[in-house]
Amino acid sequence: MNLYSDEHNLTVNLEIELLLEAIFQQYGYDFRNYSKAHVKRRLLSRLSTSGLKSISEMQHKVLHEPGFFDQLLRDLSINVTEMFRDPSFYLAIRKEIIPILKTYPFIKVWHAGCSTGEEVYSFAILLKEEGLYNRVQIYATDFNTNVLEIAKKGIYPINRIKEFTANYQQAGGRQSFSDYYMADYNSVIFDQSLKKNIVFAEHNLVTDSVFAEVNIIICRNVLIYFNRDLQDTVFNLFSDSLINGGFLCLGSKETIQFSSKAGLYETVNFQEKLYKKRIV
């Protein structure tokens, strides 16, 4: 069969569907409602370096070698992030959300899909500078335990510090960024006191349910990988987890606009995708 024919392409799509079904049935991770183009890209990229001939062969290996599945799980979850990613987002939080959070005696934050933790520490630094850190509990969750281990350590390669520092300054940082970390030869370790009020925990947005009632949910660049149905399921979960008047903060290209839950929210900042759950 011609590898570049429509027929072959449709067969590959079918193989991918079967593989995702196998993964769900055997390991409980559900990628069936992820963006198909994204999943295909990640799987074919792994296929090309694996020495396997087809996705069907890959399915056999996934089912019989948990170690290989672990690798595929890493391929399918995107863990590219940075500290103070999109500095204007943090500026908007400082200006439009922090003043309201300051009126609460205690604040619970859920950082959903926290990946390797860079954005969690960014938010912790922001809360510290705003004098809120001592009355906050941050839940930082991800479905991938490998990235959670990295997040817990708070150690990042030193070659990223220049970028992080520039972001921090543009995000309205009030100190010298180097106050927050110690540099080693190849890495920087973030101030361990930033971790005091952070709980890192495994949670899968697709298959797990509500675990806390919170004042603010931060979930950025996670939903873009989900199809509309799955996005809606997650918006349901978020709406059940937020207190009335609580805030939902999404990635710059994500919106609640098309969800059946849109009516529950008012827009705080359209550009930065900050929403507030209405007090009904």
Binding site: N9, L10, K40, I78, N221, N227, K253
Partner: protein
């Protein structure tokens, strides 16, 4: 044994990749497209990660076609130009909607031309036109080859005319494109192909 499954009905589309010097090259092509140009165009232009959507707005003001920044899950409409947002890859779904991704940079770029072109090759198959313009790295060469492999039409800006020759030169060497043209000729070719496709679909 014959395969019983039905093939999907594919639409026609154009993808364009550009880097250094791309702003002016894209401006020249997009602002020369006539009103009613019916093919969708998806663009990956390398751009600084913290820039805003100025380019889409600026082109839209100068063009007879609609130009906008691509939104996630947006359905592809005929005659609309979609530009990948800064710091996101743009992918085409096989149901002709758009997907954005923050995965690793490819060829030091996000958006990457290869990522756009490869996903577009699956979605549009032989009904795709791929164009590689000016740029200073190799991004787009492999993607253009994928488009060619799937039977699409491939166009590369003449490296001698390009503001930066490396990207079109790499695409030329890797993909052996159907056409190597100047910017003016590329615009003419796109209009000519659009007319041809329009004729094909009205004869069906």
């Amino acid at each position: 044994m014959d395969i019983k499954r039905k093939s999907v009905n594919k639409m026609h589309g154009i993808v364009i990749g550009s880097s250094t010097g791309g702003f002016y090259a894209l401006k020249k092509i997009i602002t020369s497209l006539p009103k009613g140009f019916s093919l969708p165009i998806m663009i990956a232009q390398h751009i600084s990660p913290n820039s805003d959507n100025f380019m889409a707005k600026y082109f839209d003001g100068l063009s007879l076609v609609t130009v906008k920044e691509a939104d996630e899950k947006e359905p592809i409409l005929p005659g609309v130009v979609y530009i990948a947002p800064p710091n996101y890859h743009l992918l085409i779904e096989e149901d002709f909607t758009l997907t954005l991704s923050t995965e690793e940079k490819r060829n030091y770029a996000r958006p990457s031309v290869d990522v756009l072109f490869e996903s577009a090759a699956y979605a549009f198959g032989p009904k795709l036109i791929g164009v590689v313009l000016t740029g200073a790295n190799n991004d787009g060469a492999k993607g253009l080859l994928a488009i060619k492999n799937f039977g699409g039409t491939t166009i590369v800006q003449n490296p001698k005319e390009a503001e930066a020759y490396v990207m079109p030169q790499a695409a030329l060497e890797t993909a052996n494109p159907d056409f190597v043209l100047s910017l003016d000729e590329i615009t003419k070719k796109l209009i000519e192909l659009e007319n041809l496709f329009r004729g094909e679909s009205s004869n069906q």
